[in-house]
């Protein structure tokens, strides 16, 4: 039986409380050894709730583990990653992986130099509709892909957060809706289509208080077989949008939902439904958001043990980081890097 991996959690925010700790507590192949957060009372409270033995506010005091979860705002990660790599810890980073391509490369290079693995938490890759779309698109049974349209948005109806929320700071969050939420749908499109490159032809933002609240980009994707298709994406916090991805083939259309319950629907050129995958009948992928989180952890643990890149390897999200960076540069919107 494989040795249980010791995990340290850096950051005691919402995603840790609601998803990572409940999932890690239920996984037998890992054991959470400590929580570290600059707000030690928060770390202690969360540790007590989930039966984690120790809590710290200073990373230097944390005992050695095999893996650390990096769940702090992306703008603050570089020094933390530097320390983690120096101590020989594999690092699993919550999305977004990095603010820029330069930072993304820096992380991968530092991890390689330290001989450790680095992964990215993009759990939508494990949703049934996304996984099946990737499978279908890899076989192209309906002819060439002509266009891909993706959008995700809901009018913000309350945040439930106080004035110190990190998403109010460009320096901490790296930007607004595009990097915070948009990185998920961008990655879903790139992952499902297996795109190898992209071009941004135009980009527009709606913004307020220095943050982007809506982002729209038009361009093209270069797919695995070097074919190109038109691509459009929109994300928004100020408008309700169509939530989904639509892929237009020569002979058919595929629509997929964005969540763990999202459906995948195939229609022909006459709009007749050919097939439908709903959350009640998962053939691939994970049924709930918790099992998706568990799947990404399982992938990363396997990567740490075998040293073979998995579906959540940090390098697999390079294109996603580049896309977000190109969009921000296009509109010359100030980011944490500028």
């Amino acid at each position: 039986m494989a040795r249980v991996l010791r995990v340290g959690v850096i950051g005691a925010g919402n995603v840790v409380e609601r998803y990572h700790l409940p999932v890690l507590s239920a996984m037998s192949e890992v054991r959470v050894e400590w929580l570290c957060d600059r707000m030690e009372p928060r770390a202690r409270g969360l540790a007590a709730l989930f039966g984690v033995r120790r809590a710290f506010s200073d990373l230097e005091e944390c005992p050695d583990v095999e893996v650390v979860l990096i769940a702090i705002p992306v703008g603050f990660r570089r020094p933390v990653l530097e320390r983690a790599f120096r101590r020989g810890w594999h690092a699993f980073c919550e999305k977004p992986f990095a603010i820029s391509s330069e930072e993304h490369s820096w992380i991968l290079d530092r991890a390689k130099a330290a001989g450790v693995q680095v992964g990215v938490g993009l759990m939508r890759r494990f949703y049934p509709a996304t996984a099946l779309a990737r499978h279908v698109l890899s076989h192209r049974p309906f002819g060439a892909v002509r266009e891909v349209w993706a959008s995700e948005g809901a009018r913000q109806r309350g945040t439930g957060r106080d004035s110190d929320w990190y998403q109010g700071s460009v320096a901490a969050a790296g930007g607004g809706v595009l990097i915070e939420t948009g990185v998920h749908i961008v990655d879903q499109v790139l992952f499902a289509t297996g795109a190898e490159a992209f071009e941004v032809g135009s980009c527009a933002f709606e913004w307020g208080k220095g943050l982007d609240y809506e982002a729209r980009a038009l361009g093209a994707l270069r797919l695995r077989d070097k074919a190109e298709c038109r691509f459009g994406i929109a994300v928004s916090r100020i408008n309700d949008l169509y939530n989904g991805i639509v892929v237009h083939f020569d002979e058919a259309r595929m629509s997929l939902g964005l969540t763990h319950e999202g459906e995948l629907v195939l229609t022909d050129s006459q709009e007749r439904v050919l097939a439908q995958l709903s959350s009640a009948e998962p053939r691939r992928g994970q049924r709930s958001v918790y099992t998706a989180f568990a799947a990404e952890w399982s992938e990363f643990i396997r990567q740490c043990r075998t040293r073979v890149p998995s579906l959540v390897d940090g390098a697999s999200a390079v294109l996603t980081t580049e896309f977000v960076e190109v969009c921000y540069k296009w509109a010359a919107v100030p980011t944490a890097e500028s």
Binding site: W149, A150, S151, G153, R155, Q156, R157, G158, T159, G160, R161, D162, S163, D164, W165, Q167, G168, S169, G176, A204, W207, G208, K209, L211, Y213, E214, R216, L218, G232, A234, S236, R237, I238, N239, D240, L241, Y242, G244, I245, V246
Partner: protein, 390 residues
């Protein structure tokens, strides 16, 4: 008059802040948000925006200290104990601001429960069956006590379902209208308890100008039925008319909803839970305990063959029953949203004075807004189409 809109980052608060600031020059609107991200929604609003916490005494004074009136839309959600502490603190701080002489507290139809049954509960003693509804009711009582203690004018509105562009109820209606299996219970004859967001804005404007105080239910006047509400949406957006659920099924849906012990009689809900557990849990438990299984097999070996066959038949029937229950989609009547079965809110209704049509271009404008909102929802290219129109 300077009026603060708390919770201005929310779906109602943000609309009120925009609309009141744009339409009523006599009002100096201050939008109050909890954080910068919420405030960013109001970047283009023609009003001042303040960011901070309403729960800290010093902060609340800074945010509201120069205001004459407050429309309190802010509400803390989350775990009940924590949420109540925050909601209570907000109300307490608000009523401690000396200059504020008028408060409009936005409560909710939820205080009456998801499905209003007029035989259960009343205007004076509503019967909330959700954490949200109970929290709103507690907040009403607290607001009334604080208003009496501090001698402020308090208006409590039990807001019906708010619909219109960017409102959650319109999104619900559009989603249902596009769901092929959906039909409208009682052909939509039940009262919707709904209010258009523009009419709500008008009501705020009018109430701030009067000396009224008290508590009311707030809906469109006259009250619309669900059929009228659904038809308004489907006609405006070019969607097919929603079919009617037959009366027999509608009555069955309501009977089943109430029989499931939904907030009415707790022991009904417990009895049902026990029955379900018995039906589905028995064989699962037996299968999951290896020692028990082993004991069972040894016993079977000693039984006469006729009895062993009988035991097998009972076991396989139970397995089949479990599998069929698990595989059978829930009957449509079990899926009906309770507010579609609901009676009208009991008690007095706010007579919304003024004419919303005098503010807007009226019906045409409301429909145009809805179509513009729907264009974004309808396809992934919608975001670009809407931007081009702008």
């Amino acid at each position: 008059m300077r009026v603060a809109i708390t919770g201005a980052g929310g779906q109602i608060g943000s609309f009120l802040a925009f609309s009141l600031a744009q339409r009523d020059q006599a009002l100096d609107v201050v939008a109050v948000c909890r954080n910068v991200v919420a405030a960013g929604l109001l970047e283009s609003a023609p009003c001042s925006v303040r960011v901070g916490s309403l729960t800290e005494p010093g902060s609340a004074q800074l945010l509201l200290g120069d205001c004459d009136a407050v429309v309190h839309c802010a509400y803390a959600a989350g775990l009940p104990g924590h949420a109540w502490a925050v909601n209570k603190a907000m109300l307490t701080r608000l009523f401690a601001i000396p200059r504020i002489n008028r408060v409009i507290y936005l409560s909710s139809v939820a205080v009456y429960g998801k499905c209003i049954v007029n035989e259960v509960g009343s205007f004076e003693k509503p019967h909330a069956d959700t954490g949200y509804g109970r929290a709103k009711w507690r907040s009403e009582l607290l607001a009334i006590r604080l208003a009496r203690r501090t001698r402020r004018r308090l208006i409590v509105w039990r807001l019906g379902h708010v619909y219109g562009s960017s409102q959650a109820m319109s999104q619900f209606i559009v989603t249902k209208a596009r769901t092929t299996q959906f039909s409208l219970p009682f052909d939509g004859a039940m009262p919707s308890n709904a209010i258009h967001i523009h009419r709500l804005t008008n009501a705020v404007k009018v109430s701030l100008a009067t000396e009224s105080a008290g508590a009311w239910n707030v809906t469109d006047q006259p009250q619309q039925t669900w059929r009228q509400l659904f038809d308004w949406h489907t006609e405006t957006l070019g969607l097919p008319r929603v079919p009617a659920m037959p009366d027999t099924l509608s009555r069955e849906a309501k009977r089943r909803y109430l029989a499931r012990g939904n907030g009415l009689v707790p022991w009904h809900a417990l009895r049902r839970a026990v029955t379900v557990a018995q039906a589905t849990g028995r064989t699962a438990v037996a299968r999951s305990l290896p020692r028990l299984r082993e004991f069972g097999y040894r016993m079977l070996e000693r039984l006469p063959s006729t009895l062993e066959s009988k035991a097998g038949a009972v076991y396989w029937s139970a397995l089949a029953r479990e599998a069929i229950v698990a595989a059978t989609p829930a009957s449509g009547v079990d899926q009906v949203e309770p507010w579609l079965l609901s009676d009208a809110m009991p008690g007095p209704y706010l007579a919304i004075g003024g004419d919303v049509d005098a503010w807007e271009a009226g019906e045409v404008s409301q429909r145009a807004e809805l179509m513009h909102w729907f264009a974004r929802l309808n396809s992934p290219q919608g975001a670009w189409l809407a931007a081009e129109r702008l």
